[in-house]
């Protein structure tokens, strides 16, 4: 975060800039329909892809392989893997964070909306953002996400797909492994011409208990991400603030899950 001393544009000013300069003459309303239609099409294509089909078919095999090696079940649920799409408003919010709140160019003297910069917007977001399509797979135990990561890497490579991953361990108590696979999509532009793009699909690998924490703390996480915080804002020292308990819950749960693993792996 850059800090509120920089006097960054607000989200309203950002949206106005997008509508008047970048998205002109189409306008935000029409672009929202275009965005929604495009992500529906991308979701369908990814859902019908060989990679995703193979993943769905192999989940039982992965579960059994893990169980036969470690005795316990891999997954928390037998529900099918669900592909989620980023809602339009959420996409705009993310663009605002990337273009404004987390954009270090604003530190430069004279940097403004008129500067030479590629703004992320509803037209190029499918390539620039990594979670237009995402899914979440939850494991029962703390070693599950790493096991799943290994399987996803193998699957991506056998399907000839580029991939990368990040081990997430945030200050706010968010723990997960994010796996990204770059997938080819054929979408249409505003003139209904076909264009080929590559968009990253995000797989969030975590544990079932961490999922509960995410659902509880998500709103605090989102509120904080939308603020230009001052370097003096330290929730860790403000025990009465809204984030204090939910954030530490995430850390405590992660620690407890480590302790559960230690007990689980003790010899019989």
């Amino acid at each position: 975060m850059l800090g509120c001393k920089l006097n960054l544009p607000t989200i309203t000013e950002y949206e106005t800039f997008l509508e008047n300069e970048i998205l002109k003459p189409t306008g935000m309303k029409k672009l929202e329909r275009y965005y929604d239609n495009t992500v529906v099409s991308m979701k369908k294509d990814f859902g019908e892809s060989d990679f995703f089909g193979e993943l769905k078919n192999k989940m039982q095999t992965y579960n059994d392989e893990y169980t036969m090696d470690r005795t316990y079940s891999l997954l928390t649920t037998q529900d099918p893997i669900e592909i989620l799409t980023k809602p339009f408003d959420s996409m705009i919010t993310k663009c605002f964070r990337k273009d404004i709140l987390n954009n270090t160019r604003w530190k430069e003297e004279g940097f403004s909306f008129e500067s030479d910069y590629v703004w992320i917007n509803p037209l190029n977001c499918f390539v620039e953002l990594t979670d237009i399509l995402r899914t979440r797979i939850s494991a029962k135990y703390l070693d599950g996400p790493v096991f799943l990561l290994d399987k996803l890497i193998q699957l991506a490579e056998s399907n000839g797909l580029e991939h990368n991953h990040e081990y997430k361990a945030d200050e706010e108590g968010y723990y997960a492994i994010h796996f990204y696979t770059e997938f080819p999509f054929e979408i249409t532009d505003l003139e209904f011409e076909s264009i080929n793009i590559k968009s990253k699909v995000e797989f969030q690998l975590n544990t079932g208990i961490q999922n509960l924490i995410i659902d509880l703390t998500h709103k605090y996480y989102e509120e904080k991400r939308m603020k230009a915080l001052s370097p003096d804002d330290k929730w860790q020292w403000d025990y009465s603030c809204d984030e204090f308990i939910p954030n530490y819950l995430g850390h405590i749960i992660h620690y407890i899950e480590g302790m559960i693993m230690e007990v689980r792996e003790r010899p019989e």
Binding site: Q60, T61, N63, D64, E65, T67, M68, D69, R70, T71, S73, L75, T77, Q78, D79
Partner: protein, 152 residues
């Protein structure tokens, strides 16, 4: 039907099939008779997870069990079932034993009983129910009926 075909039909995964085929090889080594039949005991948990439990092998006089198939554990035991079944109880749900081939996804069939001093338990769900019913008819019923005839 071969063990491989049977396991594929009941939806066993590759790791389980691999272990089962190894257990079959061991069973053939330790059983003095030809292995004529097989059955995998399985059930569904409340969360919908299907759990494969023991793998059973049958010959004319012997019954073999490999417990906890879904674990690292490798084990197999052998007992004589010939005229050796003391008692058994059959339970079923959404399944008609008088029409054993008519099963649904929700069909459940369980047999538990006593083989000498050892208790046995076999469970089947869905399309596996007719297989268990056939096993009961071929290996369980004749070996308690014979005991009844002996005591007459």
């Amino acid at each position: 039907m071969s063990l491989l075909e049977y396991l594929k039909e009941v939806g066993a995964s590759e790791p389980l099939i691999e272990k089962a085929l190894k257990m079959l090889e061991i069973a053939k080594e330790i059983c003095p008779e030809n292995i004529d039949d097989h059955f995998i005991s399985e059930s569904y948990k409340k969360n919908g997870e299907r759990v494969f439990e023991s793998l059973w092998f049958f010959s004319k006089k012997f019954i073999l069990e490999s417990k906890r198939m879904m674990s690292k554990r490798t084990n197999i035991d052998i007992m004589c079932h010939f005229m050796n079944i003391d008692r058994y109880e059959i339970k079923w749900l959404e399944y008609d034993p008088t029409n054993p081939e008519e099963e649904t996804r929700n069909s459940r069939l369980i047999i538990e009983g006593q083989l000498g001093i050892i208790e046995f338990l076999m469970k089947a769900s869905g399309s596996n129910c007719p297989k268990l019913w056939a096993i009961i008819g071929k290996y369980i019923v004749p070996n308690i009926v014979k005991m009844i005839k002996q005591s007459e």
